[in-house]
């Protein structure tokens, strides 16, 4: 095969290593940790509107270790191409008030295998209040750190209510 000879053996070795490296990067991004951008006003006090670069890990959803107060990235139930970044406010079995500001409050019990997600900026956020509880299988990962603009850990925002 004369047309291969100019490349030589080392060329194919390089291609092999490039493919192996791409597979490794894909595996890490799919199962260990991932860097994404989070844009929009829905998480406003926690994340900026113009976009933050955050890191998420895929272990917590797989090991079922998510708790109320964790920030997660999940696929939007209304658009399978989009991912959204929200905070978990209810786990299966919890009784949740959909909107506390109206007079006739409505309550919902989160069904089995679902979570209740809401943005931190409740007045400008499309979340479980409009599309209902989100299936657990749609959660991609838990956000645990922000890289840019300020590097910091994102902690569970749950503060227990204290009796006076």
């Amino acid at each position: 095969m004369p047309f291969i000879i100019p490349f030589g053996r080392s060329f194919f070795k390089k291609i092999e290593w490039a493919i192996k490296f791409a597979c490794f990067v894909h595996l890490i991004g799919e199962h260990v940790t991932e860097v994404t951008m989070c844009i929009g006003p829905s998480m406003l006090p926690t994340f900026n509107m113009i976009g933050d670069i955050v890191v998420l890990e895929h272990f917590s959803p797989k090991l079922k270790r998510l708790e109320i107060g964790d920030v997660v990235v999940c696929i939007s139930p209304t658009n399978p191409w989009r991912a959204v970044c929200k905070r978990i406010l209810g786990m299966p079995g919890d009784r949740i008030c959909i909107d506390p500001t109206v007079i006739n409050r409505k309550y919902i019990i989160v069904p089995r295998g679902h979570v209740w997600l809401q943005g931190d900026n409740m007045s400008n956020s499309t979340d479980s209040r409009s599309y209902g509880p989100v299936p657990y299988a749609l959660i991609r990962g838990r956000v645990f750190a922000r890289i840019w603009p300020q590097t910091c850990w994102i902690k569970n925002g749950m503060i227990p209510l204290q009796d006076e």
């Binding site: 696929i75 295998g113 679902h114 749609l138």
Partner: protein, 132 residues
């Protein structure tokens, strides 16, 4: 999914099928396709159902569902098993998000007697939304 997969002629042996994973990337679903998806009520279980309706359609439901008919919201679909009397499907938990679907079942490989492509079967209980 009894008449389509694992019929009584199988004698309790399971079918081996070929899945098309690419459809979970393009999200081009057609009414009547058989798909596998994560169960909405249990993230560890993968179920096989047929897509009955896509977004905008109106479905006439069967019994466990409280409403007579349902309009499918944006980004959701209505899925049902082929054996409607022994199937836990959208009639129990309502429309499911398209993002839960992870593959389309395209061929039956084993047993050889039923080898072949899986046909699309459209339901008569749907009024299809027409977009001009």
């Amino acid at each position: 999914m009894q008449p389509t997969f694992n019929p009584d002629s199988n004698k309790l042996r399971r079918d081996v099928v070929l899945l098309n994973r690419w459809i979970a990337v393009t999200h081009e679903y057609v009414r009547g396709d058989v798909v596998t998806l994560f169960a909405p009520d249990d993230p560890d279980r993968v179920i096989t159902k047929r897509i009955i309706a896509l977004e905008g359609d109106t479905v006439f439901t069967t019994l466990p569902h409280p409403d007579k008919f349902v309009k499918i919201p944006k980004g959701h679909c209505w899925i049902e098993g082929d054996d409607i009397f022994h199937s836990k499907d959208s009639n129990e938990y309502g429309p499911v998000p398209l993002a839960l679907i992870n593959a389309k079942v395209s061929y039956i490989l084993l047993p050889f007697s039923r080898f072949g492509k899986i046909e699309r079967v459209e339901s008569s209980r749907v009024s299809v939304f027409k977009d001009d």
